[in-house]
Symmetry: C2
Subunit: 134 residues, 2 copies
Amino acid sequence: MEKKQNYSRKREAILKAIQGTTCHPTAEWVYQKLKPEYPDLSLGTVYRNIAQFKNDGTIISVGTVNGQERYDGNIQPHTHFVCSCCGAVIDIPGNFISLDANVEIAERYHLRIDSSEVLFHGICSNCLQRQKPL
Amino acid sequence: MEKKQNYSRKREAILKAIQGTTCHPTAEWVYQKLKPEYPDLSLGTVYRNIAQFKNDGTIISVGTVNGQERYDGNIQPHTHFVCSCCGAVIDIPGNFISLDANVEIAERYHLRIDSSEVLFHGICSNCLQRQKPL
DNA sequence: TCAATAATAGTAATCATTCTTGTTTCTGTT
DNA sequence: AACAGAAACAAGAATGATTACTATTATTGA
Ligand SMILES: [Mn+2]
Ligand SMILES: [Mn+2]
Ligand SMILES: [Zn+2]
Ligand SMILES: [Zn+2]
């Protein structure tokens, strides 16, 4: 039996904040973003609802950058670039892993693959420009 | 001028522990592994030396699983599978991203790519077997 | 309206990692 | 071997992100 889920204005706002940006925000970013409109919002509420969204598959985690987890409201398979200078996480359209590869690896190693992701690491264009004028 | 690096028996042991396993250990794992032979080893020393190795490029980080960073003494480009059940990190030989793709993406988005990695998520063979007899 | 239950704010607790400080170990030189 | 300066260390405190707890408030369906 599934648990009943009541409506909550704050939950909706948290989801929309994550879905409405491409910056792959942290929980803290969402909290600061919504604080003006919801002055009594609690950081724990942001974390609790994010955990639910992740669990439902409504959002995904892009991993941890500088000790903070980054989330993504875009659940279509796509690729990410992480700037090791400023921590920006940038979308790279396209899926670099073929479905065939997934199936072959799963069979060869006797494991079940649920998802695959590609990550590029480097320096983003902003940070490159800022480093130039030496 | 580069900083002089003195020899340290513990540093060597920490590096060998990481290079001598394919389990992609945590700092805590390394600490527990070496504790019997080095009873006065400090967890801080493990972290400090790991940070150095990472900085030198002697080892790499495979990312964070269940809140703990995982390290890899194999710095050849290869692929990883992360079990979402038990947290195991397993090597998958092979590099799925062509060098050409790196160059093309770097040019198109005006950024510098230093490395690329592929990550599979799913259930490992051990956990699959344990789940079967229901 | 009203009782049952879900969600929240505020705060305390947890846990991985980093920092600080006083001590010990290395290393090159007498 | 003894010495001095630099590097590494142990132990424990501090930090910071995340989670857990609890008393209160909001939502829901009858
Ligand atoms: Mn994205
Ligand atoms: Mn590996
Ligand atoms: Zn950047
Ligand atoms: Zn497993």
